[in-house]
């Protein structure tokens, strides 16, 4: 299946799941309620009850969002540069992010059911995974960008082709340069 079709399917699936939520009946306190002692604070209350049986829908939306983000990133890479290494790196990023999410979600539900959780760096496991795991998962894409910059993001051939294009564009532009004088920058 073509990448663009995958992206459209993911968007339609997210939209469909949002539709399921919008058609559902929101339980009381779904978005929190006033704190009984402090006016400027809210509380979440019974976390399991306010999911209203829709936790799996919300979790599925996040799974699809992770897949969508990775598909979009693949779209940003020229088709001829999407080689096995690129797919392996992007795939590993998606797997890491999905694993972080699934463990976070399951441990969150477990905490809501039992009130107990493993502590990581002093925080409950789902909180620690959100604080550190999600950010690290996203940062891995930064590592891929740095490593792959000259391999598939902006190769030296791309740079040379762009330079030629820019040089060609400069020629007819010069007579009109009085309207928008070009600054002294190089466009390499």
């Amino acid at each position: 299946m073509r990448l663009i079709n995958v992206i459209l399917l993911l968007l339609l699936a997210i939209l469909g799941l949002l539709g399921v939520l919008l058609l559902g009946e929101s339980p009381a306190g779904a978005t929190g309620q006033a704190h009984d002692r402090f006016a400027a604070m809210t509380v979440g209350g019974d976390g399991l009850a306010r999911l209203g049986g829709m936790g799996w829908v919300m979790s599925a939306i996040q799974v699809l969002s992770i897949l969508l983000i990775h598909s979009l990133i693949a779209l940003g890479i020229n088709e001829r540069h999407r080689n096995t290494t690129f797919w392996a790196l992007l795939g590993s990023s998606a797997v890491i992010s999905l694993a972080v999410w699934i463990v976070m979600y399951l441990s969150y539900i477990e905490f809501l059911e039992t009130g107990a959780s493993t502590l990581i760096l002093g925080f409950p496991l789902p909180t620690a995974l959100a604080m550190f795991g999600v950010f690290i998962g996203g940062s891995y894409l930064c590592v891929i960008y740095i490593w792959g910059f000259r391999r598939f993001v902006y190769t030296e051939e791309d740079e040379a082709a762009y330079e030629a294009l820019r040089a060609a564009a400069e020629q007819p532009r010069k007579p009109n340069a009085s309207l928008f004088h070009i600054g002294g920058g190089s466009d390499a």
Partner: protein
């Protein structure tokens, strides 16, 4: 030193404002034409662009609103921050290369210029400019109001200025803002961004260290206090619930690529290959600065819950009260200066794109040409937009009108919903059509405005901007697929190949 806390903070703010004036004068000497005024002549180095990109991501909202959100709703707003890696990745993988290529080849001065070049459509250019202008007015009014209120609270704590009015504070703030924006344009903005970014990153680390020392067990002990009161507040989705938090994550992650004040900075670097350095530097800077958001919020919520602090009247007081109570006076001074820096540079960036919309993009969309003597008119319009936004902010404050709140909400989320599909698909997919761009922008504006104007509360806390961005992206793709593949101009066609 503690007895002079207010004076120290004021001294730092004063030094920063003087710095802004000096930067404005210096930048004026480097601003010779509209290209310099709007895109800094496209010759900025990687360090400057990196700090400008991350400073644009974290405005005054990150300093005041962020800790306030953690105080009021626990860790819900965590998702606005932890998705930064994904957000920057989308921005750099999908936008930064080709937006800079089109800017270089077509001599583009603004985002609507790039959109017009890509789609060959003046409608797409005009609608993008209108979206930017609406968002800018709301953002600017709230920034001006925030700056004046913080200045009033600082000055009001001294004997000399105890009764200073808000109007006076607005006037003082505007004087500095207008001077350095009008004289220096985007050059002034990006160089103050550098200082702001550096201060924010350092302040983030120092605030984290301060916050960790309040409880003997550090932040985990504070987290345990919050957990004991209400588990949800200390769990990853906070008190607002899972789908609200995840929706914020989507809008702040995917939506980052639709922020015009941010992606315009991707048109300003000297070399495209600098992006390889700009991305990690922006991400690291952002991560350090964002430490302030959570450490202050968590400590303030915990100390109020355990009775060691009196409850706050409003969540937005979390950061000022923390600084006044726990931070060393010098650190408090630095953070207050950083707050002004954040507000000032964000305001300047918005003024810049708003001015471009008025004197460059809309005239081009309507008549096919810009105004003559763009630099002169850019400076005049910058003054006018500032004054209108200030009047708007004061009217809203004293008249208790919802208009600023409405346009303020018409900020990140609406930019995201309107601009993400147009830019992300437009720069990476040949089949993306002008009609799809126009439809996506209109649909996102209608959806976002409808949810806000009619105060519609969606079930389970699904956020309006989340629904709007998914809808506009889907609509964009469906319309593009239903239409024949557009014929691109040869230079754009070649860029799409690279």
């Amino acid at each position: 030193m503690d007895a002079y806390r207010v004076e120290i903070s004021l001294a730092f703010v004063l030094v920063y404002m003087v710095f802004c004036v000096v930067v404005g004068m210096w930048a004026m000497r480097r601003t010779h034409d509209a290209s310099d005024f709007f895109v800094a002549g496209r010759h900025l180095g990687p360090m400057v662009v990196a700090l400008a990109v991350f400073s644009s991501t974290l405005s005054g909202f990150g300093f005041v609103g962020g800790p306030g959100l953690v105080y009021s709703s626990g860790l819900s707003s965590l998702w606005m921050v932890i998705v930064a890696g994904f957000g920057y990745a989308i921005g750099f993988f999908l936008v930064s290369k080709r937006i800079r290529m089109i800017a270089g080849v077509r001599d583009a001065l603004s985002l609507p210029d790039v959109i017009a070049a890509r789609y060959g459509s003046e409608w797409a250019r005009g609608l993008t400019a209108v979206t930017i202008l609406l968002g800018v007015m709301g953002y600017l009014a709230t920034q001006i109001l925030a700056m004046a209120l913080v200045l009033q609270s600082l000055l009001g704590a001294t004997e000399t200025f105890a009764d200073i009015s808000l109007v006076t504070c607005v006037a003082w703030s505007l004087a500095v803002l207008v001077f350095y924006s009008v004289t220096g344009g985007i050059v002034a903005s990006v160089y103050t961004d550098v200082i702001q970014g550096a201060i924010m990153a350092v302040a983030g680390v120092l605030i984290l260290l301060t916050a960790s020392s309040i409880y003997s067990g550090g932040l985990p002990e504070a987290s345990a206090v919050i957990l004991a009161d209400d588990a949800e507040a200390a769990l990853p989705f906070g008190t607002l619930g899972m789908i609200t938090a995840l929706g914020w994550g989507f809008v702040f992650g995917v939506g980052l690529a639709g922020q015009p004040h941010l992606i315009t900075k991707m048109m300003m670097n000297r070399k495209i290959s600098d992006n390889r350095i700009i991305f990690p530097m922006s991400l690291v800077g952002y991560a350090l600065a964002a430490l302030l958001w959570f450490s202050i919020g968590i400590i303030m919520r915990a100390t109020v819950l355990d009775g060691s602090m009196t409850p706050l009247d409003a969540p937005d007081a979390a950061a000022p009260v923390f600084l006044a109570t726990f931070a060393h006076p010098l650190l408090a001074g630095v953070v207050f200066a950083a707050l002004f820096a954040a507000i000032m540079s964000t305001s300047d960036a918005f003024l810049n794109i708003g001015t471009a919309a008025v004197i460059h993009d809309l005239p081009n969309a309507i008549s096919g040409r810009s105004v003559n003597n763009e630099l002169f008119w850019a400076r005049v319009v910058t003054c006018l937009i500032t004054l209108v936004a200030a009047a708007f902010a004061l009217y809203s404050y004293y008249g208790n009108d919802r208009l600023v709140a409405l346009l303020g909400a018409f900020g990140w989320g609406t930019f995201a919903a309107a601009i993400v599909p147009v830019v992300v698909f437009g720069l990476n997919w040949r089949r993306a059509t002008a009609r799809a761009a126009v439809a996506a922008i209109i649909a996102s504006l209608v959806l976002n405005f409808a949810v806000e104007i009619f105060s519609i509360r969606l079930p389970f806390g699904v956020s309006g901007p989340f629904l709007a961005i998914v809808t506009s992206m889907t609509l964009f793709m469906v319309i593009s697929l239903l239409e024949p593949e557009p014929k691109l101009d040869p230079d754009i066609d070649r860029i799409m190949d690279l």
